[in-house]
Symmetry: C2
Subunit: 656 residues, 2 copies
Amino acid sequence: MNKRFVTFLPAGVKVEVDPGTDLLTAAGKADIEIKAPCGGDGTCGKCAVHIKSGAAKARRDSHLAARLAEKGFNLACQTLVQDEDLVVEIPKTSAMSKHQVLVDHHQVNSGMSEALSNYLLHVWQLKELFLEKQESPLNGYPLNPLCRRIRLTLPVANLQDNRDDLNRLTLALKKETKCTDINISLAIIRNLGEILRAAHFKVTVLLSEVGGKAEVIAVEPGHGHQPLYGLAVDIGTTTVVAYLLDLEKGRVIDTAGTHNRQARFGDDVISRIVYAVDETDGLKTIHQCIIDTINTLIMDLLVKQRQIKESDIRVIMTAGNTTMAHLFLGINPKFIRLEPYIPTANFFPVVKAQEVGLRVNPDALVFSYPSVASYVGGDIVSGTLFTGMGNADAPISLLIDIGTNGEMVLGSGDWLVTCSCSAGPAFEGSGITYGMRAMHGAIERLEIDPQTYEVSYTTINNGKPIGICGSGLINCLAKLRRTGIIDRAGKFQTSLSTERMRIGETGPEYVLVWRDDTDLDRDIVISEADVKNLLRAKGAVFAGIRSLLNVVGFELESIETIYVAGGFGNYLNIPDAITIGLLPDIPIEKYKYVGNTSAKGACMALLSQEAWMEANSLAGKMTYIELSVGNLFMDEFVSSLFIPHTDLTLFPNVSL
Amino acid sequence: MNKRFVTFLPAGVKVEVDPGTDLLTAAGKADIEIKAPCGGDGTCGKCAVHIKSGAAKARRDSHLAARLAEKGFNLACQTLVQDEDLVVEIPKTSAMSKHQVLVDHHQVNSGMSEALSNYLLHVWQLKELFLEKQESPLNGYPLNPLCRRIRLTLPVANLQDNRDDLNRLTLALKKETKCTDINISLAIIRNLGEILRAAHFKVTVLLSEVGGKAEVIAVEPGHGHQPLYGLAVDIGTTTVVAYLLDLEKGRVIDTAGTHNRQARFGDDVISRIVYAVDETDGLKTIHQCIIDTINTLIMDLLVKQRQIKESDIRVIMTAGNTTMAHLFLGINPKFIRLEPYIPTANFFPVVKAQEVGLRVNPDALVFSYPSVASYVGGDIVSGTLFTGMGNADAPISLLIDIGTNGEMVLGSGDWLVTCSCSAGPAFEGSGITYGMRAMHGAIERLEIDPQTYEVSYTTINNGKPIGICGSGLINCLAKLRRTGIIDRAGKFQTSLSTERMRIGETGPEYVLVWRDDTDLDRDIVISEADVKNLLRAKGAVFAGIRSLLNVVGFELESIETIYVAGGFGNYLNIPDAITIGLLPDIPIEKYKYVGNTSAKGACMALLSQEAWMEANSLAGKMTYIELSVGNLFMDEFVSSLFIPHTDLTLFPNVSL
């Protein structure tokens, strides 16, 4: 079959593909990321592109495709390359911002011509936290990294003391570490003789020691000061962030973040699992995607920190949700998604970097944070560790991480319960007509004049608006309700005397920004369907909190602290969230933003064996509550689909 | 550079090589094995070949090469391919017999046109022992193989019992095995979900369990009767023998043996080490040689046992000397040969078959017998286990294994001392003008008429004589002395009135077979230099025995049993050996032939965890005596260079 060329604008990247390839796949090959929250099913409409030259064929007819076609757009996932070369333009609304913006600080800080997503801000913030504010990533734990250097001066072998090299080394290590179980791989043993003798039986051993068991990572001649770095990686479904740590000084040297390249197989974990299970070599492909993503971050970090070499990175700690952990290690995730939702593993084996293909020292050890259940993963365990909410004397507190799912942990030093509610990715912009991630041009805050119903707004980076991000949507919902544009059930007051209120294709909608003020060729609206989606999302989260409380027999008032975690949480306006009934109506001073706790907990575990052992203990201690069993959750959920709730006594301070 | 063709006769195999390649290397590429005890140094003269067509160039001038050239021969190792294609004939005396004779029993038993070496006989004998005589390879140990099958019926996962798959399996295994430390590799975890569900949570686990630690080798769906085989491999410097075992029935199914393909780098461990250390990629090449050798045996066994598949072999136990163990695992052997003779390891890690490239189930575990020191290896530990001489109530006994080195163990239940003496490979035919291995046409026994000094002889397989094997040489030495042809110091009585006594190129020599009666084009002789070499070899062994006794303060008479092990030992005539002063003059009924104890001990360890643990305990318990320290050995050695000894009181029953 003859290949065809597809050129993608504005990047100008050309790629060669077989006829029959869809444009979303072609873009993936060109390493250009197009939004595809539905995973290429042709249902979300986010991957709209514009064919500037050449003829292509639509995969199937759909209402959505037809509507877009009217406006001159094609769905990338539904458009197939035929006999002609194509030139395809990707509009800003369909493109994902590229990670490259991170490589050059200067570009990000001055030019800012590319989108700047909240995970970038988020990375800066963490960086500031760790680097500039000199806040310790140890968070109270002792510095005792997962990989440490031990300098040994072994007795020199002679005819009287002719013990073998391995025995000589192992005995010295046992004495030094008090570990009885020390493993040294064949790869290291193979050249041990030369290494011991290169500096007359003075050697430096890099060792990872956890709970009385030790693994030798490297043996090097002499007592030099070999570099010793570690990498903590937060593997998010959407975003992956890496932290380069100096293991001996116990500090973060640099950070880098990017999109999870798996995004082209869908926004949420379910579409990733479907791809991994249903496609030929799907697991292999999607596993490679996350490895490639992390390798890109490693490259970025090493470009910035030129004094550090790939081989200097000796240990990696990853934290991610259960699906991400499975995909990262290449474990079949099939049964995570099928009732009774059983993951293959919650505690993962420690592997070597070369086994998974990470481009650091091939013998570097790779640790994965333990999960609790299919939908409460290592990221949540990591967050629980960070907050200290499981510490012996901790009062009752709640950790809540709102992303695609809403995961939460309720507990104290004595007990911990946890659950996950399918909030859906509405707060990440998915399923909302003009929803988008927190990037350049996203509306993050708005005001609606209660008399004129006119809208004023602020956008991220003051860009011309192209959509609304999660925090903007919550703010918008609060304002729509406060001005009476919607009722407590989210129904639009269509009789309102403003031309902003109109009936659109899917029903009632409200114009937030007129076309001329946008960077699009159309009005930005919020529809009644969007509002219903948002209510389901916020209802699921609140119902989850109530369900956990019900299980342990406590009331909202018992909660001493609510930790709000995650990239989204960081930008969440708490009063807004209380107003719409997303978060409990307790005094605002009890709320605490904790940021990317998954990443922070990963750094802690990397720097402190004690932290890592506590993380494992926490994962074993957390009781998972399956919300799909019984009516516990469903009753709460139905009651939560109002603003703020059917039971107004739960929100005494909210008056709408 | 243009390639040239070299065709080797009589096989007719053609190989393409670069000009400058020597013929020994070229033959190696063609998988044709030429004898090269010196490892290609041009000093032993065993690789003589005949160039039938084409011109080649000699690497350097040597007396030996010149002598051979007179007879129309070239040394393969010293002859370089130039601009012409060559046709090279390999005479019988230079060719090694090929292993293929083993594949087809019928061919071996009837045709026998190829050489039949004693290791083949030896394999038959073992086979008879295990297979036909139904003697148990367990040798008294309980059947409790290193790999066993555990059938589990796990509780079926549901919303109430939603533990992860790995946890579900591990808990059940801990309960079943009492092991607290169970390792399951990522490779197995990756598809565990499907495997557990394929037969509704009924699974069969293949597990290796040693000392409270367990490694899961495989998890398979259902409770079927999957085949479960193991392989015990005796890795000898010269010969490699493999035993295919049914792990559940505890019996040997079949055996196969062949030359160690490393032989082309030299006969003894020293030349192998030199090659591994000095040549580019030498270790890699020589490591691959032994892997290829074992893979050939596996192929042979599976061709014979068609019902058994490669993947059915789940565990391998190897036993070999310390150098062989290093080369087998690809461990740099450099320091074994340099004072103070330190091996990299005496206890070796358990690896997976795929890590070393063995063609069995890729996840099969590969165990290596522990060594004691650089020159007392796993083969001797294995032999010590087999004899039971370390058992609690065992009286003082001696295990002696004469090969290239003479290794011995002296001890009882309370103590074990061991040493190795560089006997040199004289008894294996190396360094003796007409010495050869025990193959077709080797003189194994002879008589010398005390009046006429005429010689009569028997050869292996009644072939026309082409040389003398080890047992033949010992017998010859005894007869030469008994007839007064040599004196107690090995000096030839050149005045003897027989034309068989003559002065050859290297000094006095005695004609054993006249040219016309041989399958060669020359007389078979034994020279005074040969006799000196033999005396050094036998002297070293006896001095070793005396040295061990001296260390512990016992006399020869204290020894209750002498176990004579090894391929060579099996054919050794004990009275002859006592006559020449190789073995102690104690009652013949105290001697016991034990055969290939290395292989037998490997089978025991494979079939019984108890045996394997005892083997490891023995290796730790054996005290190595370094004979090169002090005068202990040297004084004994010098006294042993006479027939039978300078101190005749040590040999009261020998009268010559």
